[in-house]
Amino acid sequence: MDWLNAIVQGTLLGGLYALFAAGLSLIFGVMRLVNIAHGDLIVLAAYLGLTTTVALGVHPLLALIVVVPAMAAIGYALQRGILNQTLGDDLLPPLLVTFGISVILQNALLEVYTADPQKMNAGALETASFDLGGLTLGWLPVLTMLVAIAVIAGLQWVFYRTPLGRAFRATSDNQDIAQLMGLNKAHVFGLAMALALAVTAIAGLFLGIRTSFDPSIGGGRLIFGFEAVIIGGLGNLWGTLAGGVILGVAQTIGAKIDPGWQLLAGHIVFLLILAVRPNGLFPRVAA
């Protein structure tokens, strides 16, 4: 029963990791941009959520109404103002620039919020649970998982059923030809980053409700997000959810064996999958 419990809790943890990863997956898919600052943007979203809940006295989940559009606006401005200038045939400039943004964000957050760990107060939601077949499930992890599924389904719908998604896919396929179709790639990329950071806002809020956070934890979230994306296969959003779940289960099982092994077990499973299936489990593009 303990093991089953570990697997179920790990699966639910995977929902959070999928939320970390969805934005990364989206921007890599659309513009081949590897965003090193992604984890710090998640942390930024958590802090924006904290400020909103404190300033307005609202529940953290209600803060989404403010944080999601704020992060989307930041994303659009970041893309049009800085990141578009780094995109080209060479993968190195965007890596370096987003690494720089990561450092700047961390230090800015330190200046504004100090290094003290913070946490959002979500009231009863934090501890509420229910029994299911002998297992005790927390409402918050279950809600996180449901939101992750809804977010991925929503992104999938946008990508494959709307004109915006068509524009994303066309621009991803061939930027020059997409431009001929009247798509200004600078704007399309801005919209993609806005959408990615809107998802990041949700990830940041759930992170900040679930655990305490401080300005330095962005790197760790970035790694979890990356691992979920790679395990699931690049460019496959449902694969990203599966990748998050696999990572979460590996971590909880590792922690079950020995509490010190939680993170290590996740990384080992990631490396094993990478060794056996370099393109991930469900790659969209055949190698």
């Binding site: 524009a167 396929d173 020059d176 009247g182």
Partner: protein
Amino acid sequence: MPEPILNTRGLTAFYKDFQALYGVDLSVDQGEVLAIIGANGAGKSTLLRSIAGLMRNGADQIAFKGQPIGALRADQVAALGIALVPEGRQLFPSLSVEENLLIGGRIKRPGPWSLEAVYKLFPILKERRNQASTSLSGGQQQMVAIGRALMSNPDLILFDEISLGLAPIIIKDIYDALPGIVGGGMSAVIVEQDISKALSVSSRVYCLQEGRVSLEGATGEISREAISRAYFGVE
């Protein structure tokens, strides 16, 4: 003489340090089908890419309906009513046949072309509309590429090597469809290596050689010998 819909003046174009066009002067009249011929590397595709906005050119080097467009981006040029059918078709592989056409129709200019009109011109595409564009034969892909360009209802359509890599029978089908496309008053520029094909549908022809215009004239008035000379540069 009708006003030219497009003209270029001293058009130059570069790929990094390599100069591909050396001062090309060209004009396309309203409703005219113009052919551009020339050997490989003469600058034909570069010329079309320049007009479509995919190259960096001087603002005043290209004028469309009297407006300088040389410095505009491709999406801005497309919105003014120029569409390019690119060499090698270049469909979007992640998009179905119908989605490829729909994205061509993102620019909603008024005119006769719509999804239905394209399907009427190329009925096979309607049957295949939900397939991946990569699953089509080369000829069918070319039909999608042409349909995609038509969907924006351009005033000027540029065809870059539409016969390249296609079987002769397919080429004939596609060229047979051309009068139906340009008949409605649309102007067209056709770039071809297949000279006889290009001459058969056009009223005027330019020959490019090493980035310069080496010959220009009405299709009926130019001799084959003059074309060979202009094409190969042998005197």
